[in-house]
């Protein structure tokens, strides 16, 4: 009888230790994963801020975190073109990956209900169920009037 009780007690102790250990490791893996994803997001941001297809003219005083609206519209058109769009997405996939990139800017000259405007620059998300979203504040440059508007760049990437 005694040995059985001993084994049971030992099994309980072992089980508790295993449970504790697994939880600690799972937490570490989650933390590591979050760090890797943060680095990925930073790398993506670095690319987006300097991509000449989107960047503001160099004559502008705002040189970083600035997107030229006309370029963004042209880029979006290129991606959405029925003929060249798929090939363009393949071309930019190594850089932009499986992401949806949306620019939302606020034209303060417009009435309150119409200030916010949005443009999907790039749409290459394959599975919309597991998505991680990062939002970064940008300047949207409107070249016709040389005005700068407050904007957000929303990047949804596969999680």
């Amino acid at each position: 009888m005694e040995p059985i009780i001993i084994v049971i007690v030992l099994a309980i102790i072992i089980g508790l230790v295993l449970l504790y250990y697994v939880r600690i490791n799972a937490h570490e893996v989650k933390t590591d994963t979050a760090n890797y994803q943060a680095k990925e997001d930073l790398a993506m941001l670095g690319r987006l801020t300097t991509l000449p297809e989107l960047a503001c003219p160099r004559s502008e005083t705002v040189k970083t975190y600035c997107i030229d609206l006309l370029k963004a519209q042209a880029f979006a058109s290129m991606m959405g073109d029925a003929r060249s769009g798929p090939a363009s997405k393949v071309y930019y996939n190594p850089v932009l990956g499986a992401t949806n990139i949306t620019l939302r800017w606020y034209d303060l000259a417009k009435p309150p209900g119409q200030m916010a405007q949005q443009l999907t620059i790039y749409s290459n998300l394959r599975d919309s169920t597991r998505v991680r979203t990062t939002t970064t504040y940008f300047t949207a440059f409107e070249p016709v009037n040389s005005t700068r508007q407050f904007a957000m760049l929303i990047v949804e990437r596969q999680s």
């Binding site: 005694e2 490791n25 893996v29 890797y36 680095k39 000449p52 160099r58 004559s59």
Partner: protein, 362 residues
Amino acid sequence: MRRGQLEVSFQWIYVLIAGGAFLFLFLFLIKGCSDSETAAASAGSLKNAATALAGIAWQTGARMNMTMPDAQVICPASSLSLSNGDNVASMDRLPAFLPPSVGGRTRIITTEVMLARSQTPAIPLGSVLYGIDENTRYLLVTDGSGSGAAAAMATRIGVLLSHPNVRVGDAATLTASQLPRTTKTIIVARFDGGASSSLPVLPSIPSNANVYGVVINQVTQTVEFSTWNGATYVATAVAGADGSGNGVSVHSGDTLAAGAIVAGRKPTYDCGKTALVDRMHRLTAIYESRASTLKSDPGVSAECRIKMGEGHATLRTLNAMTSADSYLEALLEQGVPGGPAQGMSLLNAQDGLYIMNCPVIA
């Protein structure tokens, strides 16, 4: 203690030992599982790092004043990551891919192509020299032998190495070597750096001079340009190809080829050129669309719209070119019959727009 009790104590010890062994085994297994998960995450991290590095290759302005977009390509027999840099001092008024004019001197595209990745630091004889990795000093090596005729030829050819540490006045040792059992000659230049002798003068190159991998039929242009650090290089762009197709056919002003005087693998050169043009085409297509909107927007002043229309017309002509060589030629040529080069036209339009306080092309 009685004998029975002692036996029970021993049983406890056995159980504890067995339990400890099981515990150790399970902990070991769990640690192994978590290590493999961590390893998988690390592998993912490495892959992400590689993606990030690849992404960095797409960033202009990351390490230097880059104005040409980068391209990552997989070329036959090697993998190149071309970082194209435009060595300009002032870029405020420039389109993203053109350099400023350099005063009275002939302007060329000062494209410094950095070889971001190389299979080995040592470039073997006959390799295409696209540029020099900033962390590795590449030297084209020679076996040191040379005939009289080859030596004479060497003194007549100036070569360009787009090395950021090469300064005007650096000694350039030109040597010519006859490849054994062939009639081909390797012309190499080695910059030692820091010496005071000047770069060799460039007279004409004799026709039908065979260089390994490249037959130099004629000198198309000798140009001079400034780089971001103020140094001046002299480059000779040559054109020609041998009958066997091993040569490199280039056009004047193509510093990709000017930096590859001693050329080797033609497919690698063609692949890199095609990738560059592919990227440039996409960029100029966006600029064309942007210019098209601006030239017809009533919010833009009439004179600005006229000027923007000139830039748009040039971009449209450029983007209509389907051949990589035609595209590059139009972009890089210093002068075309009947009018300015596209490159010059775009630069002029850009400068004009800036001076007029108009929206610029790019």
